[in-house]
């Protein structure tokens, strides 16, 4: 039986000396140094993670070379699928990242700005390696296309850019459908509203996306423990759950989360 996937994610930046380092957000604002990306990849690989996600948060083209070298070093320790995102804007960027050892690339803003990039990437490298990432936020007005109910109110979800600081007016569900049609192999759904809360994933958002596409969906943002993973799998229909701080700060191990899900009858790889 196909299992639900548990995926740790690292945000990678350069430290003062120009070395790649993992930083994790604490209480929405502060970024705390969390470790070395290669060591963390190795540890999660051994701990039984089902995949590994590496997000380059430098957002600077100058640092791209260093980041690709780090991706290669991580890939050499990763005998599980590796997704790399951040700063991927062109077909050439996709190619370089895959060459460096990534199995999949995650694309966000560049795909919203030029949706043809999805088609080009899927045709050249296969849908299985094109992951479309969205940063959604709730909107309670009449400008959306697909509505759901959140706290008793009609709500739609908007694609944002720049870490949620800027709206695009694009409906997340409509965009997910288009991305799938264009050849996206997976959807990576982040929520500005639940990110960092540890109160659970954005269930209405994840469900709205899962109900409207057949592409696998990775839920992200808000995981505080195994109960939230269980919720997003059973209530929203997600295929994978992503988490960062609960794993990085040793609040739960991968195996503890899996044991908990297993007890609830949710299929996981043990």
């Amino acid at each position: 039986m196909l299992t639900k996937r548990i995926i740790p994610c690292i945000d990678v930046d350069l430290d003062e000396e120009g070395n790649a380092a993992v930083y994790t957000g604490v209480n929405f604002e502060d970024l705390k140094y969390t470790g070395d990306p290669v060591e963390m990849a190795k540890a999660y690989n051994e701990a039984g993670a089902d995949e590994f996600v590496f997000l380059d948060i430098t957002a600077s083209a100058d640092d791209r070379e260093t980041m690709l070298e780090t991706v290669s070093a991580v890939a050499d320790e990763c005998f599980i699928p590796l997704t790399v995102g951040g700063g991927i804007r062109t077909k050439e960027d996709i190619k370089e990242t895959l060459r460096a050892g990534a199995d999949k690339v995650s694309i966000n803003t560049a795909a919203l700005q030029r949706p043809e990039l999805i088609t080009e990437g899927a045709e050249a490298f296969g849908s299985q390696c094109i992951v479309i990432s969205v940063d959604a936020r709730r909107r309670f007005d009449d400008e959306g296309e697909y509505y759901t109910t959140v706290d008793g109110e009609e709500c739609w979800f908007e694609c944002t850019i720049k870490g949620g600081r800027e709206g695009t007016g694009r409906d997340v569900v409509a965009w997910a459908i288009e991305a799938e049609e264009r050849g996206a192999g997976e959807l990576f759904v982040n929520s500005i509203d639940t990110d960092g809360t540890k109160d659970g994933y954005d269930i209405p958002l994840t469900k709205a996306v899962c109900d409207n596409v057949s592409t696998p969906v990775i839920a992200s943002s808000g995981c505080g423990g195994p109960e939230h993973m269980a919720e997003v799998f059973t209530e929203a229909g997600a295929d994978a759950g992503l988490a960062a701080s609960i794993f990085h700060f040793d609040e739960y191990s991968i195996q503890e989360v899996k044991a908990d899900l297993d007890e609830q009858g949710i299929p996981v790889r043990r």
């Binding site: 039986m1 699928p81 199995d103 295929d239």
Partner: protein
Amino acid sequence: MSTTPPAQTAAEIVVVDYGLGNLRSVTRGLERAGADVTITEDPETFADADGIVLPGVGAFREGMDNAGPYREALADAADRGQPIFGICLGMQMLLGSSEEAEHAGEGDVEGLSFVPGTNVRFDVDRKVPHMGWNELDVQRDHPIVEGVDGEYAYFVHSYYADPDDDNAVVATADYGVDFPAVIANEEGTVFGTQFHPEKSGETGLQILRNFVDLCAE
């Protein structure tokens, strides 16, 4: 008492670079399993290798087009009984044909035909592609699946092998239908996995070690 272990000659494995797939992962995996790996575009290197790996991600037609120049050299290797290991699309190419090429309106595309049969698309009420970790159910003995029965492997595919001879099926997985996860030819020297051993954690490394052991024999 200390004894010097016998000089180990690591198996020399060639990974065929026909322009598809992430060769880095499979190379690292094989090296981790103890192999001496060469990525090659030259079919003349096949004869001297202890084993040949056909990697692959992508479409059947494109794969076969790209693998075209290697067809004869691979057939010779199979005739000599050299181990040939196809991974994912590389496994599907071991069969005779695929519905994928037909669906794409490309007519018949001839596979390598080391294992008689075809590849068919999942016709199940589930998400396609089948992507993620699924459990291996070993059906019969073969050195490649030593120690992996009931373990999980990582799959990404929309088509699966449908060999003419049931005995070609070494292991299956369940995705609404029991489909072949590992196949082998009658002699057992040509085989393949639908999943990616290089991405299947410890289970995958075990399979790669099994392969390297088999090649070193």
